[in-house]
């Protein structure tokens, strides 16, 4: 009898295994109930609301798994051709390039997507499409810094800002993609010199989030911070009493990267290689570049729309106009590993 005991351990697994989720069972009856299965790294109320609108407009149900992009790619790898995913969405062009390189995406043609999205914000063969932008900008203390002092990314490495620069750790993907863009434009040596210059000027060891860097300006712990436009927008519209000091203290500039413009990264998505609802997936991507969705991303989530003619949120417009770097964004993925090494070599923790 005791020999049978081990089998008992399998019982809970056996009981749960056949209980597959509704998404996979839906794939069989795709005609009767139209669905699209989304793997996304984006975790915003705006996105949830847009999925709901999409279902109202098209009758297509949206099933979502929200998790970190690296884990999502691992899940795709493990699932192989049994993957239920139809669309993969990340908040980093580098990861989209990686997903393409590993063969998780399939190219699609769509006149709607191609006309709405500028060429440098999508994959030339249609593996992925960017639908919003974020800029890596400087926030500065208005009482101590004149915006003219901060025209280019290189300006914060000048002696003027010794002990005044605030920035989060090197593990952050937006720091990595900024440095990857520098590597793509000017090579590793110059990128490393810039990182070393930033490290030499840091007000403190890198720590905390982007928002923490902005709050530190509010407390006079530094004069300039490298931060994401999106977090600045959130801070400037926050009514949290703890954020008011920073809110009143900071100004924003769009720095230039050696004549190429301001570094931007995108949120974007592509159709999964083994998508069982390809038409619905393309429809959802097209919905993301509709005027309605682009406005929602801009107003609700403080992101820059990619579609011409859709204005950014008022608070972002207040920073002034900017020229985004038109670097082919697949370059970010190709140089991300270089960026990590450059940051480490420069002593950026």
């Amino acid at each position: 009898m005791r020999k049978l005991l081990p089998l008992l351990a399998l019982l809970p697994f056996a009981a749960c295994a056949p209980k597959t989720d509704n998404a996979t069972s839906d794939t069989l009856g795709a005609d009767s109930a139209r669905v699209v299965n989304v793997y996304t790294h984006r975790h915003y109320e705006t996105d949830k609301a847009l999925f709901k609108r999409f279902t109202e407009q098209t009758g297509i149900a949206v099933n979502v798994i929200m998790a970190d992009d690296d884990e999502l790619l691992s899940r795709l790898e493990a699932e192989g051709q049994n993957s239920p995913a139809d669309i993969i969405i990340t908040a980093d062009a580098g990861r989209l390039g990686l997903a393409r390189q590993r063969g998780y995406l399939k190219p699609v043609k769509s006149a709607v997507l191609e006309s709405a999205i500028p060429a440098h914000l999508r994959d030339p063969e249609g593996h992925w499409f960017g639908f919003t932008m974020r800029a890596r900008v400087f926030a500065y203390d208005k009482s101590k810094v004149k915006p003219e002092e901060l025209r280019s990314y290189a300006d914060i490495t000048k002696p003027r800002f010794k002990g005044k620069v605030l920035v989060r750790p090197a593990d952050n993907v937006y720091n990595q993609s900024l440095v990857a863009a520098m590597v793509a434009h000017d090579g590793t040596e110059k990128a490393q010199a810039w990182c070393a210059g930033v490290v030499a000027n840091m007000a403190r060891a890198p720590k905390g989030s982007d928002t923490d860097q902005l709050l530190a300006i509010g407390e006079g712990q530094g004069e300039v911070a490298i931060a994401n436009s999106y977090y600045i927008g959130k801070l400037l519209t926050s009514d949290d009493p703890a954020r008011q000091k920073a809110k009143n203290a900071i100004g924003v500039v769009f720095p230039d990267l050696n004549g190429h413009g301001t570094h931007v990264n995108i949120s974007g998505g592509g159709v999964a290689k083994y998508a069982k609802h390809e038409a619905e997936a393309v429809q959802l991507l097209e919905f993301f570049v509709s005027d309605e969705a682009q406005q929602a991303f801009a107003e609700g989530n403080m992101e820059f729309p990619v579609k011409a003619g859709i204005p950014a949120a008022a608070v972002l417009q207040g920073f002034g106009a900017f020229t985004p770097d038109t670097l082919d964004l697949s370059q970010l993925g190709l140089h991300n590993a270089d960026a990590v090494k450059v940051l480490e070599a420069a002593g950026w923790k």
Binding site: K19, S74, R75, A78, P84, D171, K207, N336, V340
Partner: protein, 514 residues
């Protein structure tokens, strides 16, 4: 031949749990690691160094906090002792990442309390540093030392302490020369758990900018796009843990069995000592639980109305359902393993617990790789099912369930089974009618420990869950990722409340001598 057959059932069960970890351990055989030369030479030495520094600091601090408070409440009487005795377990209900972020929010460079303090006193505190993280982690994790230390002091050493007192040993001498050495194995076991928790943490180390091995896994994976190197660092982590477990075994060798069962009677403290004891315990409790809990609760009700808690009802239900199923599955497996180990003295059972130290995201890769392979073979989809999630939690938390069960079974002499057999009971009947009823408190303790951990767990839940399934920890994550701490407070509060119930129950059980 006989030994081989006796080992087989436990070995097979252990293998079931170890499979996903074998995927990690054998990474060099089946994955490419293009960046390994760089990771091994440039990153690994630094990351190993920072890991060692953080583990040593945290464990030392946790020992100071855990042993001192345990000794005070177990052996001494002072105002508030009865409350402190159970309340000092409460920090276990706080997930490490939530506690760490709350501390940074209070005592970081722009923390609410550090700013207020700087304004009044000119003194600027910044806990958002590598050594600050050691304090924060020790404050969350010290109950892992406190609980076994308190149990060891309370039960089993009253004769020795009486003898020491009659020989004229002062209070401090009795503690340092008699009680602490006698309790050392139990304390070491707790310290090992603290070290393991520090090793597998990612959320807190990332926020504080400390580069541990687990941070190295994520830098290789997400930064260098090299999951092969990430798995290899996972392998290094497993080696570190094996080393720690070996140390634990050496410590275990001196473990006392059959000490007197008399409960220690607390001696009333006199004079100023009496109040010093109260103040110290109150400070520890306030810093470890009172402050973070109050902060979360205040934020939760500033951002949400009370009825907003209802919005999180489905997520709370999912959390408890998945936690309950996982607790049951883990309990069953742990029971079979410990029972098998008792009969065969096999060491597989202990090895099977090693998943406790592996970061959730790494276990997820192992579990998903297995799940994907099984689907290719059988056509049954496993990834994204509750079944696979429950399996993953079993792999991760088995050690927590085996420990109390082993301790419980150790208290039942084999002669008990033999008597039952002599009286004609079958092995099965012996197990059901003799061993199992005696084990009830240990079973409950094991289930509660697992439930408490699953409620707090994030990375496995996040990636293995079915479509459109939220738990409380994924809700916290959604808000925290976009740096909206205020919005994350309500689900965080619910996690703590869900965790408090098992924590308090657990404490009651341990009081009864499990």
């Amino acid at each position: 031949m006989r030994t081989w057959r006796e080992h087989l059932p436990t070995a097979l069960l252990a293998l079931l749990v170890l499979l996903p970890l074998l995927v990690v351990a054998t990474a060099p055989l089946h994955t490419e690691a293009p960046e390994w030369a760089y990771v091994g030479s440039e990153l690994l030495p630094t990351f190993l160094g920072e890991t060692a520094a953080l583990v040593v600091r945290t464990v030392l601090l946790a020992l100071v906090l855990g042993v001192s408070t345990a000794w005070l409440v177990a052996a001494n009487d002072f105002p508030g002792r009865k409350v402190f005795r159970w309340a000092l377990v409460l920090p276990l209900a706080l997930p490490t990442y939530i506690s760490a972020i709350t501390f940074a929010d209070l005592w970081g460079p722009t923390g609410r309390l550090s700013l207020a303090m700087a304004e009044r006193t000119g003194l600027h505190v910044d806990l958002l540093t590598p050594s600050g993280l050691a304090y924060v982690l020790a404050l969350v994790l010290f109950p892992y030392v406190y609980l076994p230390a308190r149990a060891a002091f309370s039960a089993g050493m009253s004769d020795q302490l009486d003898a020491a007192r009659m020989l004229g040993g002062g209070a401090l001498r009795r503690a340092f020369r008699v009680a602490f050495p006698l309790a050392a194995p139990a304390i070491a076991g707790g310290a090992l758990l603290v070290a393991m928790e520090v090793l597998n943490d990612y959320g807190a180390v990332k926020h504080y900018g400390v580069r541990t091995l687990t941070a190295g896994i994520f830098r290789s994976w997400g930064g260098l796009y090299d999951s092969g190197s990430a798995l290899r660092i996972g392998g290094v982590l497993l080696l570190v843990v094996l080393l720690l477990m070996l140390l634990g075994r050496i410590a275990d060798r001196g473990r006392q069995r059959g000490l007197s069962g008399k409960r220690l009677r607390p001696v009333p403290l006199r004079g100023v000592r009496r109040w010093l004891a109260t103040v110290w315990c109150a400070l520890v409790l306030l810093a470890s639980f009172g402050m973070p809990f109050a902060t979360i609760a205040i934020d939760a009700f500033r951002e949400h109305a009370l009825r907003a808690a209802l919005e999180f009802l489905p997520a709370t239900g999912n959390t408890l359902l998945i936690g309950g199923l996982s607790a049951l599955a883990t309990l069953l497996l742990a029971l079979l393993l410990s029972y098998g180990q008792r009969r065969s003295r096999s060491r597989f059972a202990q090895l099977a617990g090693i998943g406790y130290v592996v970061p959730g995201a790494v276990i997820a890769i192992g579990v998903m790789t297995l799940g994907g392979a099984l689907t290719d073979l059988s056509g049954i989809v496993l990834i994204g099912t509750v079944g696979l999630m429950v399996y993953a939690f079993t792999v991760r938390f088995l050690a927590l369930a085996t420990q109390p069960l082993r301790a419980g079974l150790d208290q039942q002499p084999l002669a008990l089974d033999e008597s039952a057999r002599l009286l004609g009971a079958s092995p099965w009947r012996t197990f059901l009618r003799v061993n199992l009823p005696l084990l009830k408190p240990s079973l409950l303790a094991a289930a509660l420990l697992v439930l408490m951990e699953v409620v707090k767990e994030l990375p496995l839940t996040l990636i293995l869950r079915p479509f459109d399934t939220d738990t409380l920890s994924t809700k916290v994550f959604e808000m925290a990722r976009i740096e909206q701490w205020g919005d994350a407070a309500m689900p965080a509060l619910l996690i703590v409340l869900c965790g408090l119930v098992p924590v308090v129950l657990l404490d009651r059980l341990l009081e009864r001598g499990v």
